[in-house]
């Protein structure tokens, strides 16, 4: 397996092939969007999202919003209380709630 350079929050890190084998696609994707992710409390893996709207409907502080086509996004990052309700209720494992 070829060694993939993966961008982390500190900068570009070349992961060992053994380390990337243990990572899932989502985890690698999370690493790639490091810049935005650091600001946003919730990370959406849009390739798996089916736009069902459960995360938006059950967010206790209404910090998530939906675009006209139904795509969820973090509308008010400052409102997030890190309860991880969206993480636990996502049927498609597309939401990763960041720990505080």
């Amino acid at each position: 397996m070829s060694v993939k350079p993966v961008k982390s929050r500190e900068g570009i890190i070349i992961l060992d092939s053994e380390e990337t084998e243990n990572l899932s696609d989502v985890e690698i994707a999370v690493e790639k969007v490091s810049g935005d992710y650091k600001k946003s409390p919730v990370f959406y893996y849009y390739e798996w999202c089916k736009k069902c709207g459960i995360c938006v409907a059950f967010c206790p502080t209404k910090c998530l919003g939906r675009k006209p086509d139904g795509t969820p996004f973090v509308a008010f990052p400052e409102k997030c209380v890190h309860c991880e309700t969206c993480d636990r209720l996502c049927p498609d494992f597309a939401v990763t709630g960041a720990k505080r």
Partner: protein, 291 residues
């Protein structure tokens, strides 16, 4: 190495499978799968020590996506397969995932006899009130007056209470959970896996495509909200008057007793027979010695 957000679920998913998964958008099977994975992760079980067995149906598609020992079997027959696996490898944690129709209608006979034997396995029955995969036929758990493809004017059949059925058949751990209460569901599944004996967990889930559309229950979020608003714990149900309890889903652990387990009894029988054989083999010598 940078820190990675702790999403336990992705460590347990099969990477060579096609994602997003096959279920409809907003299907609660995915939420229950997440609860199941969290329960197994909390127990810190090795992937090789967990076996998931499933039949046919929407919920029975679950084992395909997780990286345990899995077995996708015939319609209604996951429990016989699981019994065989458990008897051959008693150290395995066998978890059976079936739907309501799979467990109570087509495999009803296997279900009650597994409960009677008290064999150490966890049976998760995903109750979505309908046969979702085949297009919405009425199942034994379709509510009274519930509309389905085969009952267009409302079902007139009384409903199976899976928990009472399991208690009556002799299961030693019986609980009900809902898909919405994920932390509680994880706890109940964890207790069920630890429990020695047949554990039956009925998990109330939703089907907005087949059942929700015909009965005007709304979309995925509305149906999940129905589970949230209409379910009460056992402690809350004891305080309520019987009239107000109608139509409510009572969740919690209903029944938990310790009884001898089937694999242990089987092993004890084998051991006792082997002990009996040895004296018989030795007996001719004794007789010779007596002479």
């Amino acid at each position: 190495m940078a820190t990675i957000p702790q999403k336990i679920i992705h460590r347990y998913l099969r990477r060579n499978k096609k994602f997003p998964h096959v279920w409809c958008m907003g299907c609660t099977n995915g939420i229950v799968l997440g609860s199941l994975i969290r329960a197994i992760a909390e127990l810190e079980l090795q992937k090789d020590n967990v076996t998931l067995v499933s039949g046919i149906g929407c919920s029975s598609r679950m084992p395909v996506y997780v990286d345990f020992n899995t077995c996708h079997t015939l319609h209604g027959r996951p429990i016989p397969f699981a019994t065989g696996i458990k008897l051959f490898k008693p150290e395995q944690n066998v978890i059976v995932i079936t739907g309501d129709g799979d467990a109570t209608a087509i495999g009803g006979n296997h279900f009650i006899h597994a409960c009677r034997r008290n064999i150490d396995m966890t049976i998760l029955v995903m109750n979505n009130n309908i046969y979702g995969m085949t297009g919405g036929q009425s199942s034994p758990t379709t509510p009274l007056n519930g509309i389905s493809v085969t009952t267009p004017h409302g079902s007139i059949d009384p409903v199976f209470d899976i928990c009472k059925l399991a208690i009556g058949a002799g299961a030693t751990f019986v609980a009900r959970a809902t898909a919405f209460h994920t932390i509680e569901t994880s706890k109940i599944i964890r207790d069920a896996v630890i429990h020695k004996g047949t554990s039956v967990v009925e998990i109330m889930s939703t089907c907005h495509v087949s059942y929700g559309k015909l009965n005007k229950k709304g979309g995925p979020a509305e149906m999940l909200r129905f589970l949230k608003d209409n379910s009460i714990t056992i402690a809350e149900a004891e305080k309520l008057e019987p009239e107000k309890k109608e139509g409510k889903i009572i969740r919690g652990i209903f029944h938990k007793v310790e009884q001898p387990e089937y694999c242990e009894r089987y092993q004890a029988l084998c051991d006792s027979l082997q002990k009996d054989e040895k004296p018989e083999a030795a007996s001719p010598k004794k007789e010779e010695a007596k002479k």
